[in-house]
Symmetry: C2
Subunit: 361 residues, 2 copies
Amino acid sequence: GQLFKVAVLPGDGIGPEVMAEALKVLDAIEKRYDVKFERTHANVGGAGIDLEGRALPETTVNICKASDAILFGSVGGPKWETLPPDEQPERGALLPLRKIFGLYANLRPAIIFPSLTSASSLKEEVIAGGFDILVIRELTGGIYFSQPKGIDGEGRERVGVDTMRYSVPEIERIAHVAFQAARKRGKKVCSIDKANVLSTSVLWREIVINIAKEYPDVELSHMYVDNAAMQLVRWPKQFDVILCENMFGDILSDEAAMLTGSLGMLPSASLAEGTFGMYEPSGGSAPDIAGQGIANPIAQILSAGMMLRYSFGMVEAADAIDNAVARVLDEGYRTRDIYQEKAGEKLVNTKEIGDAIIANL
Amino acid sequence: GQLFKVAVLPGDGIGPEVMAEALKVLDAIEKRYDVKFERTHANVGGAGIDLEGRALPETTVNICKASDAILFGSVGGPKWETLPPDEQPERGALLPLRKIFGLYANLRPAIIFPSLTSASSLKEEVIAGGFDILVIRELTGGIYFSQPKGIDGEGRERVGVDTMRYSVPEIERIAHVAFQAARKRGKKVCSIDKANVLSTSVLWREIVINIAKEYPDVELSHMYVDNAAMQLVRWPKQFDVILCENMFGDILSDEAAMLTGSLGMLPSASLAEGTFGMYEPSGGSAPDIAGQGIANPIAQILSAGMMLRYSFGMVEAADAIDNAVARVLDEGYRTRDIYQEKAGEKLVNTKEIGDAIIANL
Ligand SMILES: CC(C)[C@H](C(=O)O)[C@@H](O)C(=O)O
Ligand SMILES: CC(C)[C@H](C(=O)O)[C@@H](O)C(=O)O
């Protein structure tokens, strides 16, 4: 049997509760497939700050380095909001993790499950039958990481500066990720840029067009970021894979996620070259409902599924998790965040929906 | 009587048709108020390229310089889409106009008229009663205009660079615009930034907090741009004035405009220090319906109203235009883009709705 090492970083708020369910699912996978997941827990985010003095403690980094993948919960909460921005749980953990592990490809599915369309703030006629968008966001370049960055000068003479920079290889490798993903789904890539204003976007568009030639079976289109922000609202079904640089991807993936109306359902993957990756729910740490056992663990469970698919090559087991989640939703199981008091719905807590998913594996 | 000089730049597509209606409204205002609008027409956008070789001909710039305000139509179309980005009608006209005339404050209202809520792709319950957001976008700084910007190197060694830079005075003056606008409306400013990642945003937030002290009657909040893209979709009514740097404002103002479902209804103002300003519809040149006399001229007419309000200090006349538009909508007049085949609706063309608005002045 195979052995995979998983760094488990539950984090803050609902992180530990929903992580517990994802780990139960990994247990169940071990029973059904010839595989073993060796898990090492580590502190991150607010938990890292409280227990080890920083959002991303060195022990945590070392545990991650000794692992084949990171399963990440969620971080942040009011307790740490007054810290300087780069010491805060979210930014202080996520940005260094991305950089240290070269997690350049962020995959953020925005899916409406047909049984949950009424949770969206979009009209029924706009989303009838659901939609399925995959935002692929470049995650280690652009205005997040380029130099110079900082505030120069004194008093009213101060000037703030950030730099957006992209090299050809950075664009090429993320474009490949998008085209390869599109091949396995709707065969369309919409590349987002602001080529009428940004030089990085002019280069971006040229390189994406070049790479597209290697994927003649995939249809490529281009859209300005402002128009994309509109088109997502107007008719989300027009999109299959959306390819973005770092900051545009930050904004559009969140907009797309909210359009589904079920943030607690969306997983994400951040991939390095090779098979290493970090997997985390798209939603936040929801401190308001933490500790009550009512949080929705589906995003965390689907994140574990993405880990099996992308880092461990366990496509069959990953499909089994996705299908089990879909069946449980079809059977009417609902945590509070997606409960709509409709006939056939069963209101359940975190553990109960986790158990139901495992029973359906 | 007062005399105001207006540079009239109809542009391409539906621009000339809808401009004709706005000019009829100015005629009607002349008859009712002791004022004269001296108008000089000039070419811009595709019309500038075709007739004078560039999107913003020098004669056009000179006419604008000799005027008290610019009334702008819309530019662009398939004919000019293969030109290099900075020669294209939109970018090639708008960016230089903003820079030459120092149009640093862009006001983009996103209003749902209560009688038109069904045009939005948002659910009735999310927008019941309409909403009224004013996006204030910094328009002459940030990543649009800062240096260095360009593509360096050769072949696969090339690197694209853009720079986002903000100085304290640039932030101060746009913050004042936002707080002053909020005072006249819902008394709330939500300032958008990405202070967890961008240095410009850290400075932006500090300065906005400082300026807020001069407006104790206005409530200030802060939101990260990714969260704002979500919150607009989730619950647009939470917003009054949204204050943004240039690129975030580009993206969020378009998202907010699309949420209203009636792009053809939204005007905008781009103001310089002093009273000079440029006024234009938020929508595009709609080449597909150009020349048919069916375009919706309301955004252009409301833009003329904003010109009276902000550049000419004619608040009463501006209110009269806004009210006339509201009444005409209440009476059921609809151009094709907002016609929904409901009882009481009258399908009319560009000229007819223009006449109805004038009759209601
Ligand atoms: C916390 C923040 C730095 C981060 C980002 O902007 O990338 C977050 O918004 C995300 O999208 O993962
Ligand atoms: C045409 C383009 C340069 C412009 C911008 O990005 O500012 C447009 O999108 C706008 O918002 O007025």
